[in-house]
């Protein structure tokens, strides 16, 4: 068979490549950063170098669940290469794959393990899928650059980079299409904010990776918002009710609202406020739940991430699916400048709970500097 196709190749008939491509199984590499995203629910702004602290605060792993969800939708007829234990092997086996495990790790995995895994896998596989956040993307970018295609399953606290799929299901769809040879490739930004300096929401460009792309299924990089935040604040004051408890999500726009109310908000944290008093500063999921137990009238104020459109699931994991279910969509106030909305097709949610994501889909009135604007929420599941 091969020999006949080799013969035809002499005449420019290129069936051989196609035959080989379909005949062999695609080699896909999987790297799970087991601690990615753990800081989120306990109010940390990332988990880089903070694993112990996160554990002490009662954080639970996020990445394994996200990896499993990705693997559940992934095509079965592949050769899955991965690293031992909780860096991919466990998830792969739990999802019913029989992975080819390479390399070794210690008890607690570090950035060095991620880098070594990326280098080892890149020698064999056609595509690396990692499960993590911006920190994981940065580690992989440092050693792989744009040598082989890479795509991320979003599982970190922050994901400002443009190398992530919108959610684990979307990532599986992209990888399935990659195996069928139907994706295009783009060099996309790896971004990160320094977790030690929390006075800025402007991420720094770290490098580029080659990402398989299907339009609408890969998220964009975060971009800065230069819109009229004062205008949003003025309109917010009009609807402000002093008997209501307000939970403010992270971001420049909510920070500005808090400022105009005269309270000192954290830029990247969740802060809870009632009638001139800060109830909780930089709240964790547990803090929020306590507040919900205590007060009846509670509103949640969030703003989409510029360029990406996420209102839940990126940078505000404290607002967990459980929190959202308690608050209810009707008590969510989305605020944004018109400028920021203009760049977005829709608002996006990726809470980690597929069912909740679908419930959140639909339209919502967004409070802007030009009043209320009706906007679509999508989850791409």
């Amino acid at each position: 068979m091969d020999r006949i196709l080799e013969f035809l190749k002499n005449y420019g008939i290129g069936a051989l490549e196609e035959y080989k491509r379909w005949s062999k199984k695609s080699k896909i590499g999987l790297i799970v950063n087991p601690i990615a995203g753990m800081g989120g629910r306990v109010g940390l702004k990332g988990t880089d170098n903070k694993y112990e602290l996160a554990l002490k605060l009662g954080a639970k792993p996020v990445a394994p669940g996200r990896a499993l969800e990705f693997l559940r939708y992934l095509m079965r007829e592949i050769e899955l290469y991965t690293y031992p234990g909780d860096m991919g092997e466990n998830e792969a086996r739990n999802a019913g794959f029989d992975p080819i495990v390479i390399g070794e790790t210690g008890d607690v995995t570090t950035a060095e393990d991620t880098k070594r895994a990326a280098v080892d896998l890149s020698k064999t596989v056609e595509l690396i899928v990692f499960v993590g956040g911006d920190g994981t993307a940065r580690d992989i970018c440092e050693v792989i650059g744009d040598r082989i295609p890479v795509i991320g399953v979003p599982a970190g606290v922050k994901m400002y980079s443009a190398v992530f799929a919108l959610n684990p299901r979307a990532c599986a769809r992209i990888v399935n299409e990659f195996i069928r040879g139907r994706t295009s490739f783009e060099l996309r930004e790896v971004m990160d904010v320094d977790e030690e300096r929390l006075n800025s929401t402007s991420p720094r460009l770290f490098g580029y990776m080659r990402v398989p792309v299907i339009s609408n299924l890969v998220q964009n990089a975060k971009v800065a918002d230069r819109g009229n935040k004062d205008g949003v604040a003025v309109n917010f004051l009009r609807i402000f009710d002093k008997n209501t408890v307000y939970i403010f999500g992270p971001g420049g726009t909510t920070f500005h609202l808090a400022e105009s109310l005269g309270f000192d908000k954290t830029l990247l944290g969740v802060d809870i406020y009632r009638n001139g008093n800060v109830i909780v500063r930089d709240a964790s999921e547990r803090d929020i739940m306590k507040v919900l137990d205590r007060y009846d009238k509670v509103k949640l104020v969030v703003t989409p991430i510029g360029g990406q459109g996420f209102i839940f699931g990126r940078g505000n994991l404290q607002i967990s699916p459980e929190v959202l279910k308690r608050i209810g969509k009707e008590n969510v106030i989305v605020v944004s400048t018109v400028e920021k909305l203009r760049d977005l097709d829709s608002l996006k949610v990726d809470t980690g709970d597929e069912e909740l994501d679908r419930e959140l889909e639909g339209y919502i009135e967004v409070l802007t500097d030009a009043g209320f604007v009706r906007f679509k929420i999508e989850c791409y599941s």
Binding site: M1, I4, L5, K9, Y11, G12, E77, R180
Partner: protein, 455 residues
């Protein structure tokens, strides 16, 4: 005006160009650079066809049984396009050899019948092949029908679904037509497991047809273009045309044809090339190959060994190529987007014995429209490319007041191409020009692979 010859004058021998080439073609090689021997091919091709593929004999006898079937439509007429000449007010004399009269409506049965015959003689019971829109598939279905062979045709799935009429034609001749990827072959099943919605491609259909032939007793595979034995079967076209020119005591100055894999044009010009090489003609005839600007392999490609990685240092057959990554846009002349090309034609282009030119599909359909209104016959989009070149030449003759004799091949009718004509009439055709950027990138990549190529 029609120039006819009688059935007795259907050629008795095909002409094989190999002994008359300006340089010898290197043998086909495998990925390690070893020659592919006839034995390697015997699993899929009939012995006699492999022999013809590598033959040094200049003339090959046409079996009487094949001539018998040729009689159904051969000899084909040679037309003088008097009305077109009048319309163009040209002093040039325009002739076209008309292959649309075959049962399948094109030149393809000239080889399909021959291939079916040799397979039947060797005890083969079933032939397989691939087809895109169905031109070659219908020719083979007809050929098999003539010699009581089964035909299994793997038709690219998207065409199978969107262009049912040629499929029905094939089925009328008794062929079994499967949308590819199919569940018939292991390869097809593997694709469908991974990708149930796969629209298919010529490469996939070729692999399925070959697997089917390799895995079944008394089954062989056939190909409708690029191979030497296929091209030489087509020389009945040019050999007849030469006799027809003798009758009217004329001889072409210029021979024009469209090129996809190169078989129809080779069939027309090879016998005249024989005259040229052996100085048997009073005129020094020129040959012009026409291709679409959307897929300009010969006019814009590089003449190189384009064979991927491992074998690139070995003397494989050279071809004109735009690189493996180049995917031409979806023009209506699907036959001219064929990814293969006859090495003999590439060699002759490189020696500047055959010239090449490219046109976009809008100007090509404009030319077809003039032809339909003057000559009445509706050409397929592929030969319409040749018509465009002929009209341009005739207009040039008018300017220079030259009395040239121009011959072109109308290799097939356009009765199954009404969607293309509809798009033309509705102004929906896109005049794809050379995709400069894409070709530049593809060629740069080739240059990196083959640093010794000169610009």
């Amino acid at each position: 005006m029609k120039i006819l010859i009688n059935e007795e004058e259907i050629p008795k021998r095909w002409y094989n160009i190999l002994p008359d080439l300006p340089e010898q073609l290197p043998p086909p090689l495998d990925k390690d650079g070893n020659p592919i021997k006839p034995d390697d091919l015997s699993a899929v091709f009939a012995r006699e066809l492999i022999k013809q593929e590598m033959s040094d004999d200049r003339w090959i006898r046409i079996p009487e049984e094949v001539r018998e079937v040729y009689r159904i439509w051969r000899p084909t007429p040679l037309f003088r396009a008097v009305r077109l000449e009048r319309y163009l007010k040209t002093p040039a004399r325009i002739y076209y050899k008309f292959e649309s009269v075959s049962p399948a409506g094109s030149h393809k049965p000239n080889t399909a019948v021959a291939q079916a015959y040799y397979n039947m003689k060797e005890g083969i019971e079933r032939l397989t092949t691939e087809t895109g829109a169905g031109q070659w598939g219908s020719a083979l279905a007809f050929g098999c029908c003539m010699f009581d062979l089964e035909a299994t045709i793997y038709m690219v799935k998207v065409s199978y679904e969107q262009k049912p009429f040629r499929r029905i034609l094939m089925e009328m001749w008794g062929a079994k037509v499967y949308p590819s990827p199919s569940t018939n072959t292991e390869f097809g099943r593997r694709i469908l497991e991974k990708d149930p919605e796969n629209p298919g491609s010529l490469g996939i259909a070729i692999s399925e047809a070959i697997e089917d032939a390799v895995k079944h007793e008394n089954t062989k595979y056939t190909l409708g273009s690029v191979l030497n034995h296929v091209l030489l079967h087509q020389t009945v076209i040019g050999l007849e045309a030469k006799k027809q020119f003798e009758i009217i005591d004329d001889y072409p100055d210029l021979i024009v044809g469209c090129i996809g894999g190169g078989s129809s044009f080779s069939g027309l010009f090879w016998p005249f090339y024989y005259d040229k090489v052996h100085k048997k003609a009073e005129k020094d005839v020129e040959f012009l190959a026409v291709e679409p600007t959307a897929c300009p392999s010969v006019t814009k490609g590089i003449y190189v060994y384009d064979h991927g990685d491992t074998a690139r240092l070995t003397p494989l057959l050279k071809m004109h190529t735009l690189g493996h990554d180049f995917i031409p846009p979806p023009i209506h002349a699907g036959g001219l987007r064929y990814h293969g090309m006859a090495p003999t034609l590439c060699l002759l282009v490189n020696h500047e014995i055959v010239k090449a030119r490219a046109y976009n599909q809008v100007e090509v359909f404009d030319a077809a429209s003039i032809f339909v209104k003057t000559e009445g016959h509706v050409p397929a989009p592929e030969p319409a490319h040749a018509i465009k070149a002929v009209i341009d030449e005739a207009i040039r003759c008018k300017k220079n007041n030259e009395e040239k004799t121009i011959l072109f091949l109308l290799c097939g009718h356009g009765h199954f191409d009404m969607k293309a004509y509809q798009d033309y009439l509705e102004g929906k055709l896109i005049p794809y020009e050379y995709p400069e950027e894409q070709i530049k990138k593809s060629i740069e990549k080739l240059r990196r692979l083959y640093p010794w190529i000169e610009s």
